[in-house]
């Protein structure tokens, strides 16, 4: 018995020993396993160590921004008057189009925006820490901090346009869902939001593009990054235009009109043409204007239409000098990397789902214009949409995807494309809006129509243009020199300026009645003709309706779209939109 007990005891002690040994081994191995860092993920200590880490954070923000492309275009276009749903569209898209948005509509979900805002807040905080711990040079910090700060302001501007009152959060949060805590982050109205955004964005230490030689100006995934980043002066111009600070807005826009920070050499083509809406090259058609074969201008078959010449080519061409003259902010989608280009699926009826199409109202707008050769349509319409297989297809996003001549996909499995965020024509129209409201109606008319030289032309027979073709009598930012004279010789900085309609070969729009209102309405219409489907439309309608305090501008535009497409809810939607409160999406956190 005793022996047996002893045996048992010793067995017990052996067992406990074993357990101890085993568990300690387990712990040891655990510790070791923890120490091995995973190959494909970074931990906090591996981030924000130097300027290259900071660059990675900036590129990361832009990469994530691209996932908003689809929602951005749907909200800014489908809510407005130029884009319509197709038979393939689901109920959520129809809700957006008819302004009857249910709480669970994924396109009206503000969370993707706030998720990115939260990332921006986190990056900004870490940039500050880096600066304090001297992992950053002062100028490197200023460039990158301003860039991300501007992106955040731009995101908030978008949210304000679509939701009206939103929470304005500038600290990084643990989870993005904390935004919905309204006791901490109250909803602030749009006008107040604009004040905060202007104050913050104006205070950013660096307002220019990344200068050449910066580590960020390089090639990423096969695209150069020169026009990859937000243009802060334009953002400031837009914020002030929304706010009604017209001189301020025009001043910021003028910075970009003059290519400030873009390092173009005076006297070169690039100098005279970059962001200046330059005239057409009527001989060789190496331009971004509507054009016809020379001396065959009256022939419909001589319209210049391909991927390397004329107005259409700006959506198709590589990043050459002409491209740089027009594009200010573009994010390219690469076929080899996520995120995938959402636009093929949205727009193409060959290889895509064809969810959005041009509205009849948009087509009618183009077809009611008259060109300088008497043709009763706007050729930009021919380039913005095409009838393919009997269906109207929005083409601006598809020119990298389809063959330039047959308009069939070059390879249906490869979906290259670009997210067009800002270009010179939008800048000119927004500048004209500001100038018009700032008492410079003729200058606005010039920007809208045929340019400075023609609008301020000398009387016939007068060859000395010293006192014509310019507005140098005016103060900045409204002093332009468009002079082109032989005796005495002039080549003003703006002598190639041609105006939006001049570049589209259209006749000028007449001014009827009150000139400020008439010109402003013409600018709004022109913004539709020139910039359709590029994500400007809803903001343009809202801004001008608010400015004129006339909800019918917006309501009638949406009504025209719905009624021309035979939607029985058209009249009901119009009366709903006559109340500006109904312009905004429900701010719901699902």
């Amino acid at each position: 018995m005793n022996k047996h007990m002893k045996k048992l005891q010793s067995f017990k002690s052996i067992r406990s020993l074993c357990i101890m040994a085993l568990s300690s081994m387990l712990l040891f191995s655990c510790k070791k396993m923890m120490e091995v860092n995973p190959d494909t993920k970074l931990n906090a200590t591996q981030m924000y160590r130097n300027v290259y880490d900071a660059d990675a954070a900036v590129i990361g923000i832009y990469g994530k921004l691209m996932s908003l492309a689809k929602q951005y275009v749907i909200l800014n276009e489908l809510r407005a008057d130029l884009t319509e749903v197709t038979d393939n569209s689901d109920g959520y898209l129809r809700e957006i189009s008819t302004h009857n948005v249910s709480a669970n509509n994924p396109y009206a979900d503000p969370r993707p925006f706030y998720s990115l805002i939260n990332d921006c807040n986190d990056v900004l905080k870490n940039f500050n820490i880096m600066l304090q711990s001297n992992k950053f040079k002062q100028d490197e910090y200023q460039q990158r901090y301003s860039d991300i700060g501007a992106i955040r302001s731009w995101l908030y501007l978008q949210l304000g346009i679509h939701y009206g009152s939103i929470p304005y959060v500038t600290d990084p949060l643990e989870t993005v869902d904390a935004v919905k805590d309204q006791s901490k982050y109250p909803l602030i109205p749009f006008n107040q939001l604009l004040d905060s955004l202007i104050t913050f964005t104006q205070s950013l230490p660096f307002q220019l593009p990344y200068p050449p030689g910066t580590t960020l100006v390089t090639t990423v995934d096969g695209s150069t990054t020169g026009r990859f980043f937000i243009e802060k002066n334009i953002l400031l111009g837009d914020l002030n235009l929304w706010k009604g600070n017209y001189t301020q807005a025009a001043t910021y826009y003028r910075q970009v009109l003059e290519s400030t920070g873009y390092f173009v050499s005076p006297g070169t083509d690039q100098f005279y043409q970059q962001f200046r809406q330059a005239y057409a090259d009527v001989v060789n058609h190496n331009d971004l204007c509507v054009g016809y074969v020379r001396y065959k201008e009256s022939d419909i078959n001589s319209l210049i239409e391909n991927n390397s010449q004329g107005w259409r080519s700006m959506f198709a061409r590589n990043q050459d000098n002409l491209w740089l003259q027009q594009w200010i902010w573009v994010l390219p989608f690469n076929t080899n990397f996520a995120p995938q280009n959402p636009f093929i699926d949205l727009f193409s009826n060959n290889g895509g789902s064809y969810l959005l199409k041009p509205s009849q109202a948009a087509m009618d707008n183009w077809n009611s214009q008259q060109q300088q050769n008497g043709f009763p349509f706007d050729a930009r319409g021919n380039f913005s949409y095409k009838m393919l297989n009997g269906q109207p297809v929005i083409m601006k996003y598809l020119y990298n995807y389809v063959d330039g001549t047959s308009l069939l996909p070059t390879n249906p499995l490869l979906k290259p494309g670009q997210w067009f965020l800002y270009r010179a024509s939008a800048l000119h129209l927004h500048f004209a809006e500001a100038a018009n409201r700032d008492g410079r109606r003729l200058l606005a008319y010039a920007f809208l129509n045929q340019g400075i030289q023609q609008t301020f032309a000398p009387p016939s027979g007068q060859t000395d243009v010293t006192n014509y073709q310019n507005t140098l009598y005016d103060v900045a930012p409204y002093n332009f020199d468009g002079r082109q004279g032989t005796y005495p010789y002039f080549r003003g900085d703006w002598y190639r300026h041609n105006g939006i309609r001049g570049c589209a070969r259209l006749n000028s729009v007449p001014v009827v009645g009150d000139s400020t209102i008439s010109i402003e309405n013409s600018i709004l219409k022109e913004e539709g003709l020139e910039l359709a489907y590029e994500g400007y439309r809803w903001p343009d309608l809202v801004r001008i309706s608010l400015r004129q305090n006339d909800p019918s501008i917006l309501a009638n535009a949406v009504y025209a779209k719905l009624s021309k497409d035979g939607n029985p809810q058209a009249a009901a939607v119009r009366s709903k939109l006559m109340d500006p409160k109904n312009w905004y999406l429900p701010f719901k956190w699902q």
Partner: protein, 495 residues
């Protein structure tokens, strides 16, 4: 120690047994088929259903019992025994006919009956479509509905559904309109289809395949190919057949406008001109017919319902035999439009492409955009643009044009319209143009968007014609002295 190990092994085995046994039994209970109808296929269930013995026998006799036993999904509309009592024994005794008859009651996929469902055409297994409308299947009513089996559904109906002819099958067999039937069948043509032919070898000289001449011929009918294919089961059509008196009456109205060198060709051309407007897309029963139908060529067809002699329902629409369809000549021969921007040729040997503009303009008179052609300063006297036109009738035509001069109010130029022919002169080798009729010169007024009357052409024979729009008689390369413009020419028949 040993005991302990033994105990634990026992315990472990017990647990495993309990777990597995519990699992299998529970799932068996959960999944087992308890409904005997689903365990059987359609044929088995139908054969066990009382009052379907006759239909069961027909299924066996036609071999469809094996079809209904396989694993695809079917729907059967089974006529009950009372219904099949009246079935013609000649159908039962002819295997081919019986198969078509039985297949007329079976379709692929399952169609359940719901009395408030919308009308639906169902493709039966003999290629015919039958109408499934709420509480009726074609002409039959339901005795019982939505009976199910393992591979589909069946419904019991109180009438059998005869196999209907389609419109074309009916036209081929009808006796009510012999002349029109004879003409339509005369349009049958054999065409050679190499994909169906049997290749017997290769021609050693040309390298082309040689086919067995007895194979590969496919029967086509020009009426079906070029007017409306009323032999197509998938869509619905309405055909009007004229009885012999009406047919010859209408034909005689048309023959003067198709004068040719032979009576036969005149008759054939007139007959085609007549019948092309007598078949329509869409199914119209006699009561549904409107008083005017529009043919696909835009011709108005007056329908006087009292002239309907007989109406036949077909599997793809209706055929009406009529004793009169009184076409108006002005409807039967609409105006002919020649579009200016579609020229066939220009003055031979003188290329003036650089002076030629194809334009788009807005017409304030019509409120519509139009395309036109404008030539200026081309520097050739009597330069012309030529237009070929096929198959003009032997009649008089009043000519009009819209020619828009929006380029200058002075000087105004003159244009002429002519018809004629061009040929290559054997001795000189040059192309020579002879004008048969030249209408008087017309001055092209500034910004006139209206039609301008030009004069009349008379053609004694049916056939092709060439028209010429001639410019000014002088040669000039400046000031738009030489100019030609044309939106369109309209040739209006004058009877």
């Amino acid at each position: 120690m040993y005991q302990k190990i033994k105990q634990s092994i026992f315990l472990y085995t017990a647990i495993v047994i309990v777990i597995f046994s519990a699992c299998s039994k529970k799932w068996d209970n959960h999944n087992a088929i308890t409904d005997s109808a689903v365990a059987n296929n359609l044929f088995q269930v139908i054969s066990k259903t009382p009052n379907l013995t006759k239909f069961t026998n027909l299924l066996v006799k036609s071999g469809f019992d094996k079809v209904l036993a396989n694993s695809k999904t079917y729907t059967v509309w089974a006529p009950n025994d009372q219904a099949l009592q009246s079935l013609d024994p000649s159908i039962i005794n002819d295997t081919a006919q019986l198969k078509l008859f039985v297949a007329n009651h079976i379709c692929n996929q399952s169609y359940s009956v719901s009395f408030n469902a919308a009308d639906k055409r169902v493709l039966m297994m003999n290629g015919k479509y039958l109408l499934m409308s709420g509480n009726h299947f074609d002409s039959a009513s339901y005795v019982s509905i939505n009976q199910y089996a393992g591979n589909g559904l069946f419904h019991v109906i109180d009438k059998y559904i005869p196999r209907y002819n389609n419109c074309w099958e009916l036209i081929k067999t009808t006796t009510a309109a012999a002349s029109m039937q004879a003409y339509l069948l005369s349009l049958n043509k054999n065409q050679f289809d190499p994909t169906l032919a049997k290749q017997t070898g290769v021609d050693p000289n040309s390298g082309l395949p040689v086919y067995d001449s007895s194979t590969g011929m496919v029967l086509h009918n020009i009426f079906l190919d070029s007017v409306v294919n009323v032999n197509d089961e998938t869509n619905q059509y309405t055909v009007i057949l004229l009885n012999d008196a009406a047919y010859s009456n209408e034909l005689n109205k048309l023959t003067p406008w198709f004068k040719t060198s032979t009576t036969d060709s005149t008759n054939n051309l007139s007959a085609f001109w007549l019948v092309k407007d007598l078949a329509f897309k869409g199914s119209y029963s006699a009561s549904q017919l409107p008083d005017t139908l529009i043919s696909q060529y835009g011709v108005k067809v007056p329908i006087n319902k009292s002239s309907i002699v007989a109406s036949y329902k077909t599997s793809n629409g209706w055929v009406h035999v009529m004793s009169q369809v009184n076409f108006k000549l002005t409807d039967k021969f609409p105006s002919i439009i020649i579009q200016g921007e579609n020229p066939s040729f220009f003055t031979y040997g003188l290329d003036r492409t650089a002076n030629t503009f194809y334009r788009v303009r807005y017409n304030p008179v019509t409120g519509k955009n139009f395309n036109d052609i404008l030539m200026t300063n081309y520097g050739v006297a009597n330069y012309y643009i030529g237009y070929y036109l096929r198959n003009l009738n032997s009649m008089r035509y009043n000519a009009y044009w819209v020619a828009v001069n929006d380029i200058q109010s002075t000087p105004l130029w003159q244009q002429r319209l002519a018809n004629g022919y061009s040929y290559k002169d054997a001795t000189s080798g040059n192309t020579v143009t002879t004008f048969t009729t030249t209408l008087p010169a017309v001055s092209i007024a500034y910004q006139n968007y209206n039609e301008v009357a030009l004069g009349q052409f008379t053609f004694s024979n049916y056939g092709n014609q060439t028209f010429y729009v001639l410019g000014p008689t002088v040669s000039s390369t400046s000031g738009n002295v030489d100019a030609i413009t044309l939106d369109y020419i309209r040739l209006e028949p004058a009877f």
